[in-house]
């Protein structure tokens, strides 16, 4: 299990678990992120804007826990680049890895022209072709975190509570990232949680799945 997950669920974290209700407060205290080369992460779904302007065109909706690279900063907004993998013919959805339906960004059809292909790959197992796409735009600072740890803390608390009311707690790495997407499509609404909370649980499960946990562990 990843160091990240252990730090989420380990003995030290258990203490923090008792005060999970305070996470909202913790979030509000997070300082302005320094603009560095390190990736930062989406704590909530957020629009990627063409310009720093409230009337700006939305280029894409970024997914929870997606990693973005910082290009520039401008007060409450940060210019970022995001990359993800798309199936030719389905460029409106970018996934974190080829063949793994962990959504990094969704684009309106009219915006797909902004995508810049940077790599190609054929998945040896499925024979499907994938193109890595890069996209640039602006995102609100408030949606970003310097690590995924607080995101997973919040997700775990929701998962452990909401996803044990009807059945025993499932083990994230007993299922694949793609299976989790399909399960949450059905099970998410049965929690009665707001869609953003369902998306948070989904992101946690997909990035701790049998076929992603090791990729996440290897992440620098």
């Amino acid at each position: 299990m990843s160091g990240e997950l252990n730090s989420t669920h380990g003995p030290a974290a258990r203490l923090r678990g008792w005060v999970s209700a305070l996470w909202g407060l913790v979030f509000s205290l997070i300082p302005v992120l320094p603009a560095t080369a390190d990736p930062v992460f989406l704590a909530e779904p957020a629009p990627l804007l063409a310009t720093v302007d409230t009337r700006s065109v939305t280029i894409a909706e970024l997914g929870i826990a997606a990693a973005v690279e910082t290009l520039a900063s401008d007060g409450a907004y940060r210019q970022v680049a995001v990359t993800g993998w798309a199936r030719p013919g389905a460029e409106r959805v970018l996934f974190a890895w080829p063949g793994k339906q962990v959504i990094v960004a969704r684009l309106p059809r009219a915006q797909t022209g902004r995508l810049v292909p940077v790599a190609r790959e054929t998945d040896p197992d499925t024979g499907t072709d994938w193109v890595e796409m890069r996209l640039e735009g602006w995102v609100a600072e408030a949606a970003l975190r310097p690590s995924r740890t607080p995101i997973w803390e919040a997700a775990w608390a929701l998962f452990a509570t909401s996803c044990t009311a009807c059945h025993e707690r499932r083990v994230p790495e007993n299922y694949t990232a793609n299976q989790w997407r399909s399960y949450l499509k059905v099970m998410g609404p049965r929690t009665g949680l707001p869609e953003e909370s369902q998306a948070l649980i989904l992101a946690f499960l997909q990035r701790h799945a049998s076929d992603t946990i090791h990729i996440e562990e290897a992440r620098p």
Partner: protein, 821 residues
Amino acid sequence: MSGKDFTQISRRSVLKGATAVGALGVLAPAWLRAGAAHAAGMDGEVITGSHWGVFYAKVDGGTWTEIRPWEGDPAPSHQLPGIMDSVMSPSRIKYPMVRRAFLEGGAGASPETRGAGDFVRVSWDEALDLVASELKRVSETYGPTGIFGGSYGWKSSGKLHNCQNLMRRMMNLGLNGAFVNASGDYSTAASQIIMPHVMGTLEVYEQQTVWPVVVENTDVLVFWAADPVRTNQIAWTVADHDNYPYLQAFKDTGKKVIVIDPWRNETAQFFDAEWVPIRPHTDVALMLGIAHTLYEEDLHDSDFLDEYTSGFEDFLPYLTGESDGTPKTAEWASEICEVPADQIRDLARLFQSNRTMLSSGWSIQRQHHGEQSHWMLVTLASMLGQIGLPGGGFGLSYHYANGGAPSANSIVLPGIGDGGGAVEGAAWMTDAGAASIPVSRVVEMILNPGKDFNFNGKTQKFPDVKMAYWVGGNPFSHHQDRNQMVEAWQKLETVVVHDFQWTATARFADIVLPATSAYERNDIENVGDYSARAIVAMKKVIDPMFEARNDFDIFADICERLGARDAFTEGKDEMAWIKGFYDAAAEQAPARGIEVPAFDAFWEAGILEFEIPEENRQFVRYGDFRDDPLLEPLGTPTGLIEIYSKNIEKMGYDDCPPHPTWMEPVERLGGEGAKYPFHVDTAHPSSRLHSQLCGTKLRETYAISGREPCMINPVDAEAKGIVDGDIVRIFNDRGQILAGAMVTDAIRPNVIRVAEGGWYDPAPGGEIGALDTYGDVNNLTVGIGTSSLAQGNCGHTALADIEKYEGDAPAPDVFSAPAEG
């Protein structure tokens, strides 16, 4: 009236909309009036809910006297009177009880006396001290995998008094999560593991193409080992019974219905359907024969296969016989499944030339190599090319909890959590053994600690479990190979059970704690697993009987002894929790564009109903995938229906190849070396929920000569010298049961049917191999897993022989309390 007559008449009348009014318990038995603690001042009628539906309970003089269905139930279950009787039955557990040898000799003393019925009454304090000290002792002595807390079963409805969650909550908060959990279930174990590889999702618990669409568009409705008329009586939450009017509506269209089943089940009788009396355990062969015909006659939909599936070309050489020298022709299939080859070809042509819905039950995956059944069904449906079209394709939940009933725009109740949010992940336990096992491997685990087992691509070790804590279930009914289970239980040091009736599981425990029934406490629940069309206040009908206590209070007291009471209760009492669930649900209302009353007004009204939007009456499963398979990919590696799975190929399991395959089971009718001449069909009962309500007067409406009924064809009966009403003995190398013969041509020759869920009643109690005098059919079934992939149970794999019982048949005594109970 024989069981058969009752069944047929009552189900017909239910479908006509007749109501089930309780008549069984109008007069409470004398023993009950003398002994029960009843509160005055509760007289009147209250609404509550159950797995069988919403109902009103009338109380007179502190005694529950009448039960009548909610007027919003379109087809109330005829089992309602049994609910009332269960609460007041002679098999109630009245007091905390401890097995005498355990009490006198300590944990593990004389385990062979488990099941012998020798219990001693103790006080609640003594019992709770004993339980808490055993939890601590086992946990400290044997580490985090010493206790099995994977309790499984159909615990009563209700979001708060969810005893299984409450137990795990106690173990998570009071024992720091030191227990072995279980995953999956006994209903759909094979399918819920194989379907995610094939369709990317569970299938079995998901909304179907809704019934209005089926009634409108389906030309040929196939029930493949499914009996929705019987099995939709119950639901995991509170049954809505919304499917019944649609079943009637489909019948009224006069369109074709085909039932593939070894017996002419209640659905076949209701529709007067074409009955295909297949040889049990051979459904994959029949599907292959149909598939081969489609291919041979160029009737398969190659466009659909190209666009929406993956790996058909890898399956095809197997179908044609190119890879193994055996073409899976209709003739080949006919030899195995005993459906005539011409009929197999006709079925292929009929399915292809009409809008066909292949609706399947779960029995065909609850057998050796059960993973193959639904994989092949999906493959067949893919060749027909109607998946995602209105009324076409396949469905695995039309028979369960009223799947396919359109969903309401409703708010959803949360429920009590298992407390696991506060403990670390389970991986830290893996050195000592798996922290979670596939649920049906519990006996194998107890008998084989340290042994490697495969499961869905992983190899893990069985932990060394010394204590089992079971709540909300009756594994001595739902688990297979009963005598192997008795042997396994003798290896345990400590067994604790909560229940409200003396089930076999309670009789095989060391410490038995009397829990309240769902009708002696307040709770709240959604109505309709799929429709979610109401929320019901499950109001307390009567005060707890005898010394029964709520599981919540029992576990809170145990947590107090473990230093975790406040964490367990969060400082809230019963009504505070219930109100909390309702208020959390009510917060969803604005986003759904509806208004809901405040809690007090809801509780006063008792039920809150929701509207069903028109679009939900048009839902077509996989319609979105069919529209755009790239943007709406399935959750498989290819995003497509996987007829060939590279993931399963990589697992390299001999017993689960990478495409659907006809696999000979360990035993079957007509199989090579079959040792016994009859297949034992172990289908669900008509008048119980598994084993629930077996211990009620409802039993008198179906039992034959005091035993569980055994359906047998007249030809077989004559050959065996058996007549209707005879007591028969059914036996094989694993066990023996008595049953009451019901001679009927509603079952095909060479198959006998004993419904699962009859209460295990060994004479003498506790002895391995003892004669079961009532008829728990799981004495006869095999205890192995379906395959390395899913490790599900094989509750429908059993061959046996039958004979007229000439001996002195002991009267069943499982339906009353043990001597001092």
